[in-house]
């Protein structure tokens, strides 16, 4: 048993774990976050549609509906405090042809039942005027003014960073293996890097939340079935869509979305394919074709010629019945302090709208702890503000000049498509949560995401990482151990 006992250990540093840590950092608690990967936010949080949903999709009465609407409301303040990119542009559910139009009203009624404010029905002409690239057969849209888009990577980084600045400990490359129990009470966790004692453990393990709860002997029937979604990303210089466009949803999915990202790229996706492998993020010709056909239905003028990236994400879909006895729904979130064991806050099946719900889930975790008798005492010096670091490409020339005058490294562009500077890269390598891999830098600075997909910057970034971390270029990896870029020096260099 470890010497030190924490008050709370959080398993998983995705958007949920990071926000739970951030909200817990307000109180006099020793909090430890364990992340199995080399960086935070690499699971479901790293590959999704980046939409802050309004909340008309979930079944009324479900935890999903409640958390979605509550979480959505929290985003303005959270974005202000944590300084991540968030835009409340509103979103559209678009009906094509006369048959689909009727379904919009059903959706609006569902939204009203969930407490979604600011929904408006638009006719086809309204939609064509707002989004000129739309399928001309558009018959109308449900416009939800509270829908938004955000930078999901920076939500995770900002939340975790704010938590760390307020005293939370983060351990990456540290994988949960089992609980340490005393009878029915959890007193700690075993990991690949030793044991850690704790009074409380929060299961925020995302795709692996079923494995974690089974280790505690809970909900043996609960199973995460990863649902893969594939996407295309388009060159922002070539085509732009102004809005978030959903099709009329089916029974199982919100459908193939055509949307814009906070970085200005049009993206399309996702499809929805249930798979077994929790690490299978491969893209397939079939999946991409499905995404493409779905997107064309909304925006027929899209051209694959301008696609600059494809990726796949996994939604951690669960099978938990809703705690609300009045509804029949068995894919709800799990947010509970179970009675069967003591010392566990159990979260599971946090799939879409998980990103939107995450701040509300964090607040709910705190309420649950209070209900369980935990005396949460506020720290007088808690700082809710996380300062964002400079982003060269978003600045005015006059600001860019000043930035370079203060630190010449901001004058050197390393990623030529996205105009990311050496100054930004170095700052992220030495940030409170250091970026130590190429992908970690990519998620934070957006380098390598443009039309050349890193062809230009990879050798330069490898060199900078090696220099700043004080290691050989051979140790620099794309996403942690086993993904190193280089295998050995060339013969000339070896013999020197």
């Amino acid at each position: 048993m470890a010497d030190k006992t924490y008050d709370v250990i959080i398993i998983g540093a995705g958007v949920v774990g990071s926000l739970v840590a951030r909200f817990l950092s307000r109180y006099r608690l020793d909090v430890l976050v364990l992340e199995k990967d080399s960086d935070i936010g690499t699971g479901a949080s790293s590959a999704n549609t980046a939409i802050v949903h309004a909340g008309y999709d979930p079944i009324p009465g479900s935890l999903k509906a409640e958390m979605n609407v509550k979480g959505n409301r929290m985003f303005d303040q959270l974005a202000g405090e944590l300084n991540f990119s968030f835009e409340r542009r509103g979103d559209y559910v678009v009906s094509i042809g006369p048959d689909e139009y009727g379904k919009l009203e059903t959706l609006r009624q569902q939204g009203l039942a969930n407490g979604v404010p600011g929904m408006v029905m638009l006719d086809g002409a309204d939609v064509r005027r707002r989004e000129p690239n739309i399928n001309p057969d558009v018959s109308g849209a449900l416009w939800a003014s509270t829908g938004g888009i955000c930078d999901p990577f920076s939500v995770v980084v900002a939340a975790a960073e704010n938590a760390v600045e307020n005293g939370v400990t983060l351990l990456t490359d540290t994988a949960f293996e089992d609980f340490i129990m005393e009878g029915k009470r959890i007193v700690g966790v075993k990991t690949n890097r030793g044991d850690f004692g704790s009074r409380w453990v929060v299961n925020a393990a995302g795709l692996y939340s079923d494995v974690v709860m089974h280790k505690a002997g809970l909900r043996p029937e609960f199973k995460i079935v990863p649902r893969k979604g594939e996407y295309y990303v388009f060159d922002k210089a070539e085509m732009t869509i102004n809005n978030v466009l959903f099709p009329v949803p089916s029974e199982t999915s919100k459908g193939i979305v055509v949307t814009t990202t906070i970085h200005g790229n049009t993206i399309i996706g996702p499809n929805a394919l249930e798979i077994e492998d929790k690490e299978d993020r491969s893209v397939t010709p079939e999946g991409l074709s499905e995404v493409w056909q779905g997107a064309l239905k909304l925006v027929p003028s899209l051209s694959l010629k301008y696609a600059i990236a494809e990726f796949a994400g996994l939604r951690p879909g669960g099978n938990a019945p809703s705690p609300n006895p009045n509804i029949h729904y068995n894919k709800d979130f799990v947010i509970e302090i179970p009675k069967e064991v003591q010392g566990l806050v159990n979260l599971g099946g946090i799939e879409s709208p998980g990103l939107t719900s995450s701040p509300a889930i964090a607040v709910r975790v705190i309420e649950l702890l209070k209900d369980a008798g935990e005396k949460l005492e506020e720290k007088p010096d808690w700082n809710p503000i996380r300062i964002a670091r400079p982003r060269f490409r978003d600045m005015l020339p006059v600001e860019q000049k000043l930035l370079i005058q203060n630190d010449a490294r901001y004058g050197r562009i390393v990623c030529r498509c996205e105009n990311v500077t050496e100054g930004e890269i170095v700052a992220e390598i030495h940030a409170p949560i250091p970026a130590r891999t190429y992908d970690a830098l990519k998620r934070r600075t957006w380098l390598g995401t443009g039309r050349c997909q890193g062809g230009f910057d990879i050798p330069r970034v490898v060199e900078i990482l090696a220099r700043e971390l004080g290691v050989s270029s051979l140790e620099i990896s794309k996403k942690g151990k086993g993904s190193e870029f280089l295998v050995r020096p060339t013969k000339d260099v070896e013999t020197e």
């Binding site: 299978d280 491969s282 490294r409 050197r412 990879i458 151990k481 260099v493």
Partner: protein, 424 residues
């Protein structure tokens, strides 16, 4: 030290940019600046350490850096300015250039003529929607070439190369020299896409198999490439089921084509040909924007560097001629300005030489009425060039005055003329 205004600014110091700068300077351009994003001049030639360059230009078989060095030496002897390790952030159709570097900071420069010589970039796996996972170990051939030839590192041990482009074949040989195993070169088309000489010298001579009508069906491996699955394709480039083969490897190199790099051109309002991906140009390599020229792979992708050099020289000469004419012309222009009681004057600008041909009429309106005899006067500071008498001046009635041909000499001394309408 950088100047604020140049006759010719060249964006890019690859073979096209070097030749353009040299061509411009030799044609008589006074100040020429080359801006380059790498730390050294020469562009991609610096990592092309194989030979095969200069057979047309120098009748010699040179490696890339040696070919580049000939132009770098000439550039230096011509005292052409350079700004290295610098990125051009913006160019306007008026040839205003914003650039940044660690050494210069953020600078804004103007050019009488601008040469776009940004070259091209490699197509990526995303552009052919290559299925599979996204591990480390998938590189464009050019990125791998930079690692091996410039940085001194091997990106893998066991390779499959997709695409029979020249860089891919050359890298197959280079990697073999370095002791790596190149398992296969796959080409989706039924024919070779690079030069035959590279096929013979780089693949055949080293027993590296080339499979035509084959492509990569998917990439395997989560952290690092573990294998690729290849597949044969039919006449419509569709996979033929049952022909799949898993080839173990730790690296996949892509040599699947090049795309002219025209993001800056677009910012300057340069029209692009959808077929080439490069600017529309005339026989002098001028784009649709007057004073903006383009040369090399930014216009269309070449197979031999010698033809890039040739295009660069032509482009540089044209740019210099434009700049020289522009400079001459700029000294000949006089701005017209409304003085006392004059709201505006048309034309706004007058070519001094126009008086050699004929008298020039100025038209204007007054601000306030004068119901008394007035002078309409054209002044160069305190010196009166010409005046005429009118009986009155009213805002509702246009006023005009002619500058006679006899005023030719007086106008030559002016850079600005003021017109005023005052009480007699």
């Amino acid at each position: 030290m950088l100047k604020q205004k140049y006759d010719v600014i060249v964006v890019g110091a690859g073979p096209a940019g070097l030749a353009a700068a040299i061509g411009a300077k030799k044609t008589g351009a006074q100040d020429v600046l080359v801006i380059e994003r790498a730390q050294e001049l020469g562009g991609i030639l610096q990592q092309c350490i194989h030979n095969g360059f200069g057979l047309e230009t120098f009748k010699k078989d040179l490696p890339g850096p040696a070919y580049a060095q000939r132009f770098i030496d000439e550039l230096t002897s011509l005292h052409i300015d350079t700004l290295l390790d610098a990125m051009v952030l913006d160019v306007t159709s008026e040839r205003h250039v914003s650039a940044t570097s660690q050494w210069s900071g953020y600078v804004e420069l103007d050019a009488r003529a601008l040469v776009l010589a940004m070259g091209c970039r490699e197509r990526t796996r995303a552009q052919i929607a290559l299925p599979g996972t996204r591990p480390a170990g998938v590189y464009t051939a050019g990125t791998a070439q930079r690692f091996v030839n410039m940085e001194g590192f091997m990106p893998g041990k066991q390779y499959v190369i997709l695409g029979s482009g020249d860089i891919g074949m050359i890298m197959a040989r280079r990697l073999t020299f370095e002791g790596a195993k190149v398992e296969r070169v796959l080409e989706i088309m039924p024919f070779l896409t690079g030069l035959t000489r590279n096929y013979v010298q780089c693949l055949q001579d080293f027993d590296i198999p080339l499979q035509l009508e084959h492509t990569v069906k998917r990439i395997i491996g989560n952290e690092r490439v573990e294998a690729i699955e290849s597949v044969q394709v039919d006449d419509h480039r569709q996979p033929i089921p049952g022909t799949e083969e898993v080839i173990p490897c730790d690296t996949l190199l892509l040599s699947i084509g090049l795309i002219p790099e025209n993001e800056l051109s677009r910012k300057a309002g340069v029209a692009l040909d959808p077929v080439t991906g490069g600017p529309f140009v005339d026989e002098r390599m001028q784009t649709n924007v007057p004073g903006i020229f383009a040369a090399g792979n930014v216009v269309h992708v070449y197979d031999l560097v010698d033809w890039v050099t040739e295009a660069g020289l032509l482009c540089g000469r044209s740019a210099a001629q434009h700049a020289i004419a522009e400079r001459k012309h700029a000294g000949r222009r006089v701005r017209m300005k409304g003085g006392d009681n004059v709201r505006y004057v048309v034309p706004h600008v007058l070519d001094k030489e126009s008086l050699a041909e004929s008298r020039q009429r100025l038209q204007m309106r007054v601000t306030t009425p004068i119901e008394a005899p007035v002078w309409v006067e054209v002044m160069n500071g305190d010196e009166r060039i010409v005046r005429k008498a009118d009986l009155y001046a009213r805002p509702g009635e246009m006023v005009s005055i002619d500058i006679p041909q006899s005023a030719y000499d007086a106008v030559q001394r002016a850079s600005e003329l003021t017109v005023r309408v005052v009480r007699r």
